[in-house]
């Protein structure tokens, strides 16, 4: 009797762990870590707090990551389509060498904010577990959705999630 209930408890915990870690897109409700981002070629510094009131799509990428090549056109499209409604895409570069980043950006132009420089601590704070990883932060600064990796098939779901958060206006 006792054994079977502990088995059930283990199965429940395993299922919860599966839901949290194994699914590519996970719904969450944690406050977005406070980070200083070097925007516009390290000329401008923006803090996570400064994006309050906007829906923030934070994407951690690197030049050597193949799915990142696919995610850039999607993020360009997302920014141009939903930027007017209060979306800000922020692509955080994780390259060890800035020339790799520059080469990638020359080949895949970004029409959204790109954070350059040293971002390892921010990535740790966000809990980046794969490349790319994207975090969708609502207007109140809470991480609502986390996605590991990027497949073109994910685009529809990501867009739906962003639109869902854009629809929620922040109470003044």
């Amino acid at each position: 009797m006792n054994g079977s209930s502990s088995h059930r408890r283990f199965a429940q915990a395993a299922f919860a762990a599966f839901l949290i870690f194994a699914l590519p897109g996970t719904a969450l409700a944690a406050s977005a870590p406070d980070c200083d981002w070097n925007l516009d070629g390290v000329k401008q510094i923006a803090n996570t707090q400064q994006f309050r009131g906007k829906v923030l799509y934070v994407d951690f990428w690197a030049s050597w990551c193949a799915p990142c090549v696919l995610s850039f056109p999607f993020m360009n499209q997302l920014q141009s389509a939903l930027g007017g409604q209060g979306l800000q895409v922020l692509a955080v570069n994780m390259d060890a060498r800035s020339e790799d980043e520059q080469r990638f950006l020359a080949a895949h132009p970004a029409r959204f904010d790109v954070a350059s420089g040293e971002n390892a601590q921010c990535a740790k704070n966000f809990g980046v577990a794969a490349m790319p990883s994207s975090f969708i932060v609502d207007r109140a600064g809470t991480i609502r959705f986390v996605h590991r990796g990027f497949r073109p098939d994910d685009a529809g779901q990501l867009r739906t999630e962003v639109q869902q958060l854009l629809a929620n206006k922040l109470a003044q």
Partner: protein, 72 residues
């Protein structure tokens, strides 16, 4: 004797533990380079396997598709 072996094994493990590093997902850029692959020349390997399978007139043993005449 057994104790010495155990001690030696422990020493070997301890000495090798320094080689283990926690590589973060964003630090895998160098590991992702083609020259870091376990098989550094996949095209060459595929050609060699194809020739081997054709010569043996059998396939499957080398986990390769096709086989036989070597013309496919």
């Amino acid at each position: 004797m057994n104790r010495t072996t155990g001690l030696l094994l422990a020493l070997v493990f301890a000495a090798n533990a320094g080689g283990c590093a926690d590589v973060q997902p964003w630090e895998r850029g160098d590991l992702a380079k083609p020259q870091m692959a376990l098989n550094p020349n996949p095209t060459n390997s595929a050609m060699r396997t194809h020739a081997y399978v054709s010569r043996e007139a059998a396939s499957g043993g080398d986990s390769a598709e096709g086989g036989g005449c070597g013309c496919n």
